[in-house]
């Protein structure tokens, strides 16, 4: 773990600017890379804080990308939340606005279809990797794995809202079962 210093604002902002441009499969697909940078490379957060931030964001309503300001908050408080969110939004929103009209007329072109077809499996692979990055720190904790497996089963087989499963996980954890 390394403390966050004033010199780190710029790298933090730049990291999320880059993630914004790489998020071709939605925001969650960037979590393995964000983990690699924030936890492994910079040491601003540990595994538990990282997982906690993702879990908090999933427990709340709204777009998935809100895990980004929660991570920023865990690193550097409220200013961190806004710097991270601004980084994640500025490049992609600018591009979306300029490209929207272009894309509307050209979405059936061969290039766009090839891009969607080629990137789809990569996006799904990135989601599996994101789950793995969150699950690996739980190695050796049998009950945690039971919880992971139960969540997967419930999500696929039922329409129970994620917030209830997260609440259940929180209770199980608070009771010391996990």
């Amino acid at each position: 773990m390394n403390p966050f210093t004033p010199d780190d604002w710029w790298p933090l902002f730049l990291h999320f600017l880059a993630m914004s441009m790489l998020a071709v499969g939605g925001a969650l697909a960037t979590t393995p890379e964000i983990h690699r940078y924030l936890v492994d490379q910079r040491g601003w957060l540990d595994d538990a804080q990282f997982s906690a931030s993702i879990a908090l964001a999933q427990a709340a309503p709204g777009p998935n990308l809100l895990f980004v300001p929660v991570l920023g908050h865990a690193i550097a408080g409220m200013p961190g939340a806004f710097v991270a969110l601004a980084g994640m939004l500025i490049p992609s929103t600018t591009l979306a606005l300029t490209a929207a009209r272009w894309g509307r007329t050209r979405r059936e072109t061969r290039g766009v279809r090839a891009f969607v077809a080629g990137m789809a499996p990569v996006t799904i692979g990135l989601l599996f990797a994101a789950g793995t990055v969150l699950a690996v720190p739980l190695a050796g904790q049998t009950m945690a794995w039971v919880l992971v497996a139960a969540t997967v089963g419930l999500s696929i087989k039922t329409k129970i809202a994620p917030v209830w499963m997260i609440a259940l996980g929180a209770v199980a954890g608070a009771m010391g079962w996990v």
Binding site: A55, A59, G131
Partner: protein, 184 residues
């Protein structure tokens, strides 16, 4: 078909759908914008979504921007973006602040460990639910499966930087798709 009367109406519509969306807003967005308000047809929704997916950035945010832009230009885009983000952001930051206060407590630590396990499960489930969509992908299923597996191992286990993976393997898959679509 109808359309929003003002940017304020857009803001309210997107705030309301964002607050109903736990663990992803897309299904709610379709219900609210297509079925309830009829601002878009089902086809227009799918088209906007597919353009949003080609662009980098969070899909739902891109979609909100494009729908807002379509009605009121940049004012609409801004209203839709603010609608989908502001209220959920306030909620999640309150949660984060409360959590930061109690994080040192052993029960809170346990709770957050349990929540982390569930979060991992939710993301795995999302990947598993998306996997069957690859059957409709124009590329051969075996090549898609290989790309999923390679990405999973390279990023999940070997922790390869995502830029290399997206530019390298992603780029190769797009080039392959270009050839494959031409062939047919």
């Amino acid at each position: 078909m109808s359309s929003p009367g003002s940017p304020v109406e857009l803001f309210i519509a997107f705030t309301s759908l964002a607050l109903q969306g736990f663990g992803g807003v897309l299904p709610v967005a379709q219900r609210e914008l297509v079925d309830k308000r009829a601002w878009l047809t089902r086809e227009e929704f799918a088209e906007t979504l597919s353009v949003g997916q080609v662009l980098p950035g969070p899909n739902v945010v891109n979609m909100a921007l494009m729908i807002g832009d379509r009605y009121f230009g940049w004012r609409g885009a801004l209203a839709a973006l603010a609608g989908i983000l502001l209220a959920p952001l306030a909620i999640v930051l309150v949660l984060a602040t409360v959590y930061a206060r109690i994080a040192a407590h052993p029960m809170a630590l346990g709770a957050i460990r349990g929540m982390g396990a569930v979060a991992a499960g939710l993301i795995f489930a999302m990947a598993i639910k998306l996997a069957p969509t690859l059957k409709k992908n124009p590329l051969p299923l075996a090549s898609c499966a290989a790309a999923v597996l390679a990405t999973w191992v390279l990023v999940g286990a070997l922790r390869m930087p995502m830029a290399w993976l997206v530019l390298g393997l992603g780029g190769a898959m797009v080039v392959f798709a270009l050839f494959w679509l031409d062939r047919r």
